[in-house]
Symmetry: C2
Amino acid sequence: MTLWRSLRALQVYGANTDVGKTIVSTILCRSIQRQNQRAAFLKPVSTGDLSEADDGHLRRFGAGTVTRCLYQFDEPVSPHLAVNEDINDDTLLRRISSTLSDWHSTGINLSLVETAGGVHSPGPNGNSQADLYRPLRLPIVLIADSRLGGISSSISAYESLVLRGYDVQSVLLFRDDYYQNHRYLRDYFERKNISLRPLPGPPGREESAARDEENMDRYYEGVARGDDIASLLEEMGEKHKERLERLDGMADRAHELVWYPFTQHQGMTAKDIGVIDSAYGDNFQVYSKSDAQNEQLRPAFDGSASWWTQGLGHGNPDLSLSAAYAAGRYGHVMFAGNVHEPALQLAERLLQTLDNPRLQKVFYTDNGSTGMEVAVKMGLRAASVRYGWDARQDSIQILGLKGSYHGDTMGVMDCSEPSTYNQKVEWYRGRGYWFDFPLVTMVNGVWKVQMGGLGDVLGSDLEFSSLQAVFDLDARVRSEAAQRYREFIHRSIQEQVQRGVKFGALILEPVLLGAGGMLFCDPLFQRCLVDVVRSQPELFHPTAQQSDGWSGLPVIFDEVFTGLHRLGRRTAASFLGVHPDITVNAKLLTGGLVPLCTTLASKEIFDVFSSPEKSDALLHGHSYTAHAVGCQVAVDTLQTMATMERGGFWEAYRRGWQEAGAVDQGQDQIVWSLWSPDLVTDLSRVESVEGIFALGTVLSISLRDAAGGGYTSTAAKGLQQKLSAANVHSRVLGNVLYLMASLTTQPASLRALEDLLRRSLA
Amino acid sequence: MTLWRSLRALQVYGANTDVGKTIVSTILCRSIQRQNQRAAFLKPVSTGDLSEADDGHLRRFGAGTVTRCLYQFDEPVSPHLAVNEDINDDTLLRRISSTLSDWHSTGINLSLVETAGGVHSPGPNGNSQADLYRPLRLPIVLIADSRLGGISSSISAYESLVLRGYDVQSVLLFRDDYYQNHRYLRDYFERKNISLRPLPGPPGREESAARDEENMDRYYEGVARGDDIASLLEEMGEKHKERLERLDGMADRAHELVWYPFTQHQGMTAKDIGVIDSAYGDNFQVYSKSDAQNEQLRPAFDGSASWWTQGLGHGNPDLSLSAAYAAGRYGHVMFAGNVHEPALQLAERLLQTLDNPRLQKVFYTDNGSTGMEVAVKMGLRAASVRYGWDARQDSIQILGLKGSYHGDTMGVMDCSEPSTYNQKVEWYRGRGYWFDFPLVTMVNGVWKVQMGGLGDVLGSDLEFSSLQAVFDLDARVRSEAAQRYREFIHRSIQEQVQRGVKFGALILEPVLLGAGGMLFCDPLFQRCLVDVVRSQPELFHPTAQQSDGWSGLPVIFDEVFTGLHRLGRRTAASFLGVHPDITVNAKLLTGGLVPLCTTLASKEIFDVFSSPEKSDALLHGHSYTAHAVGCQVAVDTLQTMATMERGGFWEAYRRGWQEAGAVDQGQDQIVWSLWSPDLVTDLSRVESVEGIFALGTVLSISLRDAAGGGYTSTAAKGLQQKLSAANVHSRVLGNVLYLMASLTTQPASLRALEDLLRRSLA
């Protein structure tokens, strides 16, 4: 939202206060005006005596530079102390953005947005300017410090900017031939490919204001006429041009060089590729070259939470610093036989977070797919050993649900039934039995459990007064429906086993089957499935006994997508009232920053791998197992989530759903979503909507499709296009369009999205 | 190397110059002396007038504090300008360390090591103090800046320290009631769990030196007597105790909670777990509580390059900043349908680096195992489509070498022959035919190609005048041995195909088979294997024609371990003179920081997945595909490697091997290692050594084992223990002990390691 073709908008940061930001700005503006280009200077927030204000200085010496100050306060202290009115950060950013936009439309070529003090000097609301202005991410002119100590403060200021994802374009400072900071810093920044220009220092102050002004004018004229500044301005122009050229070409280059995940490239053109210049909070900044006259970057809401990974916002400076800390303290250190603080802390914190007394051991891998490979290896071994099966002779199978998805490595592909996803994978051999299951959805204002093709055996569809009631499993396990579920499950397993099938593990994605199409399984069905497996172990082996440990089959929960507050709770298992024997977490685990996965298991399963034989061990491990960067970021993510939970960060949403719910169950048991119950109810009544649900951060809308839905359906495309036109980036799964918020998405953003959905579906 | 039980050694950094570091140090030292504990103050490098020197100030006002200055220069400028003698950074660190050690042994309780200027003020050799002192990684007392602009400079200084992996323990600053920086900063640091103490400012200077001294003395006495300082010192003591207690308990906790990769836990105790407090360059800092009287941290050389990942040193500040930049600019943004600069730049740079005209498309995954899964999916599909095979009916197989290893996900496990690694994996089904092959090794001073069990068909062992000669494939392809290799390969494939085996891909780890036991394959054999597959495609299908694209079988090179300078060249393929159709890179790709993998393929193979059907696409993708942090770090890693290569960074090693080699082949073709040819020759003559080789960063020593070697051999354990006692952390694979350097390992470290090896094997 801050990039134009004909206007170069830059932000001026100082390495410290009093390093001459305004003087340098004046030099730049004056010089470019000399080249018959037009300059403008914006001081968003100014403090101190008006007669000394920076925009006034620019007006006086800027040779016609347009100037503006958005907020002026008299006291010469940091804005967070001086401000005596309510300045909303978003409003401030919008005003800067619209000022620049106005300037662009009036033909300004260069505009400088000057900050106050140093990079971290607080803005009007007390947060660091480097954070405050980050959504704009203007290229930066850094004014370095030429005084004693200035090498250090300049480099630190630079680092603070870099770790927020800013691009520092040029560095300027006054030449001081005694301290020679400019020499040191020139070499330093040259290594970073950033050019530095030392400038002559301004003249000393004179008693007489007139003389002072005259001196300054002469100074400016001298510097502005110099080759150094002319060449710098030329270079800045070149960089701007190069940036736009690169952005222009990126989609083409990507189309040429990149083999995209999960993408059919035939028919795909460069136009189908989004060029993401940066991202912040919930938004991508997407480049669009369509209209050369307008802004070249537009914010787009990341409505898939970047494939379900985002939780604490893009470009989160705390996570950025966490990652940097771990990188600086360790890099990566090999984990076999060693331990380091981030890995240990993460193990401790995860066990505490998941609060499942069965889980005692933490195994690290890199992503959900590898973590599930490990879970499967654990589960199959435990069952094979207990039941005395020879896996080389017998094919040990998985028990699961249809539409499950556990990743793309071939081992875990085999855990799902044949589908479009694995149809053409040469080595795919589905190894399991997968249940059909009843689905939860709201239809026409009513929460329903739909039996689908299972109506004959499971009875007619169920209706509920609220989503809360659907999850009231303590009551529902005693219902007739539960009885029918259990009988059906028991019978089905028995049939398979009688045919000779040997099952090695039960694998479930609790509550929500994501990649399979955002299928919201009746939690009672999953609960009954676990209950049957555990209470009737003899189903799986004639000698099997019920046990307090794993019983019947090891129960593996794939919470890669559903865990860690994605559905509004720390675990999805808690919705079922079930403690799995093995749990896999990823995605949100690192707050949406880097790949990392954990597979947690019970001591009993761990012990199966313990023997005097090396070959009995779990011989699995990736080189970057428990990499410090991922672990540290995950520790800080879990800590942040815990703080948010304790602090009642989501209280308003919870209350909204509590009021809409009919069941009183005490605080912890509330079923809620960031999406409002009204929205869900209203949309469920829309003609083109087949069904809808919301849970935690997830909103899922099934559109009517005459052809029947499924992964290849195009029914949701129309809605997706409408959202896209309104700068909301969404993903569809067949006839299902889903939107996913972060844990930190602002209520205002959610309201805007809800309005958009209402309009788009009206 | 800087942690003792009874001595708390801290480093004092200033947010800027002139913030009162020495005054605060004096307060702390004086206060602790008041508590009948002993303080010491170390100024490693002092500049400026001796009468104003900081250690002098401490002596005058520190109430008996022991003081020392290591280097004193008169000019009051930054040390890098003042220094007029040669101060080696390592020497400086060693002197600090030994001073602290002396103080520890004389019963000092608190010692402060004071820096000069701000955190990045240059040390005597011009590099930032924050970098210079990083190997010590002392806990930090940060003196914040109470002046206007001080909020910013204090936070930036803090961030610069954090991104180098320092722990800031306390923050102190002078109270200024006008600017109130202490309030803002107290809240800021409270959120980081760091306590901040504001102190009353020192008295103004007086004309009379005696009065001045009296004032200061009164000032110090007042502050030192205050509760604030007493409680801070108590808190510092607590933190020191907690740190030691945590370190004491970490191995136990890890033993309790962590399920280690590739580890048989039976018989393992907490004592077997290395507690890694931090890492820098080539060294871990390992905690050892064995002897409470001595230093608690000892450096240990990371001799496995942390499972083959390290290339640019642990805790590399440039990579740390790269990671932070990408995290700050993007976090992670979903890659399907989008592109961002780091991912595109990496694709461009990789294609350029690998310089293989066949490769045109880049697919991203998270680690070598997932990247190989993708490669296998690509290869099998291409072959099945070309040869019209129905993979659901036919079992398509891999052609490879015995001892290959491609990762731990079950799909790629199936690409290796049955072995200890996969023996107990329930779903493992080896799908392939794997050749035995001749091995390269130096025995008793002579480079040999040993035919092993293949002597009957491949002829007798070969001898070479140099390692260079082994790799002279242009000559060797015309040899009789090559003819025998090709005949053997052709015959073996023909036999398999005649038995009905369908092959879908040839997979090789070029030159060196790592996980299989550091097996150095005769490059001529691998070259012949590729040549036979490509030149005689009719072997694999009766209608197959030779082609300029992939011919016979898609050739997949697994360069996860061997690529990107691990063996001294950008690609291992270049040793064979072969351009694979698919190449997989990981490990060194990110300079040893975070997981990331690339699978590069030809356009022809990419096109096989192109169709109007979504289901024909390569439906593979992990959530963090092409995560910005990994891609950015990889871009900067490749850039650094290219700069090193161009700059002749390894020239001395290359020359050493060139002199030892007998074949003149022009610069680019030199076969060389960081390990010296003399070492290899000398150790090859040692009785207990069966064979040895070195290539690039890898040194591999096979020890004689009466029982025959293999993964379960214990022959190398003795040598491993000797190295361990000398603080070298190494890994063994059966009877093979290998050491792996980084690309940046210093010659002095290598010499020390070589000496140690000579002594240990003598």
